[in-house]
């Protein structure tokens, strides 16, 4: 019953959203070229940073310095989380770099469970670096390959523009629950990076829609600002506190903001003629 009621409300909202988006539908224009190019430069800067940070992270693991490796885990991931819409285009690397234990039938015991989260499991749950040396080597190799592939990739415009919503959907569906960094509880770092990546895309294309749809940008601006303000409360020493410290009230507000942003940003493609 409850589900049914919610479902019809959602249906009504969707229909309204659909109509709004449709009235602003457009053919793609050459104005998209500059922000698309700027986005690739943003991604390239992030993968360059990711290679550097991963080198330091892996070096700490190789030196058996658990404390240092733990400290570097979350900040290293941020460059990946910012550019996830592009990074996850490469299915093989996305699996080997960022898969979670849930993605495998045998969970943590699956031998193909590798990458950041396998290392996270090693550092926080197993509390040692012996087992994960090989995973660390593989991670650095994968990150370097990712960097090369991204540099050589002509970005599909619809993936770039769709990425703003994709990042928020990802947070809404599988991150707000705290599944992502379950061993380290560094989820808020990832949230922050996902927001930054989504907002970057939105900001780059915003000038192309602001005049046509002032209410839309006003609403999205406000939601980004409000979500940002909540996250800011949990900042500490240039990073974030543990996810367990996020209050239920704030989690709920964040969830609402993320969902609204996901829904609103999903109209960007249509507004820019890229459906």
């Amino acid at each position: 019953m409850v589900a049914n009621t919610l479902k019809s409300t959602a249906l009504a909202l969707i229909l309204m959203a659909g109509l709004t988006a449709q009235s602003f539908a457009a053919d793609p224009s050459l104005d998209l070229v500059a922000p698309l190019a700027d986005y690739k430069i943003y991604v390239a800067e992030n993968t360059e940073q990711l290679v550097k940070d991963t080198e330091a992270f892996v070096a700490a693991i190789k030196a058996n310095d658990v404390a240092k490796a733990k400290a570097l885990f979350a900040p290293t991931r941020t460059s990946y989380e910012k550019i996830e819409p592009i990074a996850e285009l490469f299915a093989d690397l996305d699996s080997s770099i960022d898969a979670r234990a849930d993605d495998f039938e045998q969970k943590e015991a699956d031998p193909t469970f590798t990458g950041f989260h396998r290392i996270e499991y090693g550092l926080w749950v197993e509390g040692k670096t012996g087992e994960i040396q090989g995973y660390a080597d593989q991670l650095l190799k994968d990150i370097k390959t990712l960097n090369e592939r991204i540099n050589g990739l002509t970005f599909p415009p619809e993936v770039v523009v769709g990425g703003a919503a994709a990042l928020m959907e990802e947070v809404a569906a599988t991150k707000i629950s705290g599944e992502e960094d379950r061993y380290s509880r560094t989820d808020l770092w990832d949230f922050d990076a996902n927001f930054a990546g989504s907002q970057k895309i939105y900001t780059l294309f915003r000038p192309l829609i602001a005049d046509k749809n002032p209410d839309f940008v006003k609403k999205v601006d406000a939601n980004f600002a409000e979500a940002g303000a909540i996250l800011k409360k949990y900042q500490k020493d240039g990073g974030y506190v543990s996810y367990v410290e996020l209050s239920d009230a704030d989690r709920k507000v964040l969830a609402t903001k993320v969902n609204t942003l996901a829904e609103d940003l999903s109209t960007l493609r249509g507004q820019l003629g890229l459906n």
């Binding site: 919610l6 285009l89 569906a173 829904e263």
Partner: protein, 392 residues
């Protein structure tokens, strides 16, 4: 097999949905998940339904005609899943975060070929999606739209920005070596500084005010090397390679850096359109064939061959992007351009001696003519692009 698999039991569906409702944090998350289902419900029937169980896609092999196809994905497993269509390692399309018991649709433009489907867990076997040729797919492939140029234009803009930056920073390195009075270091820096400029020369030379200060050759000036308008790269080359000194070059280098800064800004702001993208490589190939290759540019350093390699890299970037556009419209032309490009590159590389390019004055008229011929053939192939993918 076009049979639609049996939909999951209705009671189970709502039970799982209700459970999902309780499980997710915040009402918004549920609203979002529910909205996906709602969007599916109101949409038209999908071309195919794929049910993802705990262990596989059902069916695990699907055949559809090419064109815009829609898929309804049903999550009959007990975990949130994603369904992806993979073209090699690249994700062609995906529907992520489908909650247990929920369904979602995905509509995607498919070209004929064989693809893989990622079915839920990474440890699950992948399915196969076979896309057969169709009139619809053929029409979509041959259609030339502005949209097909957006990626290539953006990519070229990135290339201009990167090479523009590289040209500037290499000129700054050159400037530093000149300031230090180190002729050997400055000679090496000069050669390196030329390469990024040559890669983007196709567009850079069109800014004639800057070009006249950055790249004039003495042979084209009344007073030759003594002409006050003899500035930029070749004035520095003259000092370093003909006179063997850095004396008097500091202000020239400073001006070059200033001009390259201006060039970088202009390249960033240059309005790119399909017409220009199509014209650039053909024009550059013609210029190389008719002017640069016959006479050479580097009268004192004689390092032309290494620079031609950079020019070809710049051409390869442009032609590579255009080949991506033309490939589906006219595969023969795509292959022809690829072959002409390869021929130019192979013939240039064949001039290397012991892994390095010899001075350009050792390259005979016949050898130059052969190179010119390759580039003329490339320009001829490129000139057909306008008719095939030109938008006007």
């Amino acid at each position: 097999m076009s049979e639609t698999p049996v939909a999951p039991n209705r009671h189970l569906y709502w039970a799982v949905a209700a459970a999902a409702c309780l499980a997710v944090a915040g009402g918004g998350a549920f609203w979002y998940a529910a909205s996906k289902t709602a969007a599916t419900t109101r949409g038209q029937a999908a071309d195919r339904t794929v049910t993802i169980t705990a262990t596989a896609c059902q069916p695990n092999q699907i055949t559809v005609p090419g064109g815009r196809r829609s898929f309804e994905i049903v999550n009959a497993s007990d975990r949130p899943i994603e369904w992806e269509i993979l073209d090699g390692v690249l994700v062609l399309a995906e529907r992520e975060n489908i909650a247990p018991g929920f369904r979602a649709t995905l509509s995607v433009q498919l070209a004929p070929g064989t693809y893989q489907m990622a079915c839920g867990l990474l440890s699950n076997p992948r399915g196969t999606l076979v896309v057969t040729p169709s009139d619809e797919a053929a029409a979509a492939a041959s259609e030339v739209t502005l949209r097909k140029f957006l990626g290539p234009l953006s990519e070229y803009r990135v290339y201009l920005a990167m090479q523009g930056n590289a040209a500037l920073s290499a000129a700054q390195t050159l400037q530093a070596a000149i300031a230090a009075g180190d002729v050997t270091a400055a000679q090496a820096a000069w050669q390196a500084a030329r390469l990024p400029y040559r890669r983007i020369e196709a567009l850079a030379y069109r800014f004639s005010d800057l070009e006249n200060r950055i790249d004039p050759r003495a042979a084209y000036l009344t007073g030759r090397e003594q002409d006050p308008a003899f500035t930029g790269y070749h004035r520095i080359e003259y000092g370093l390679f003909a006179q063997g000194t850095t004396e008097g070059l500091a202000p020239v280098a400073a001006q070059l850096v200033t001009d390259l800064e201006a060039l970088k800004t202009r390249l960033r702001q240059a309005p790119l359109d399909p017409q220009l993208l199509i014209a650039l490589p053909g024009d550059m190939a013609t210029q190389l064939a008719q002017s640069h290759v016959p006479t050479g540019d580097d009268a004192y350093a004689k390092t032309d061959l290494a620079e031609f390699e950079a020019s070809l890299e710049g051409l390869d970037k442009l032609t590579g992007l255009l080949r991506g556009v033309v490939a589906s419209v006219n595969p023969d032309l795509e292959a022809q351009i690829g072959a002409a490009m390869e021929r130019s590159r192979a013939d240039l590389t064949a001039l290397k001696q012991g892994g390095a390019y010899p001075p350009y004055d050792t390259i005979s008229a016949e050898q130059r003519q052969a190179l010119s011929g390759d580039l003329t053939a490339l320009a001829a192939a490129l000139s057909k692009l306008q008719d095939v993918i030109g938008l006007n």
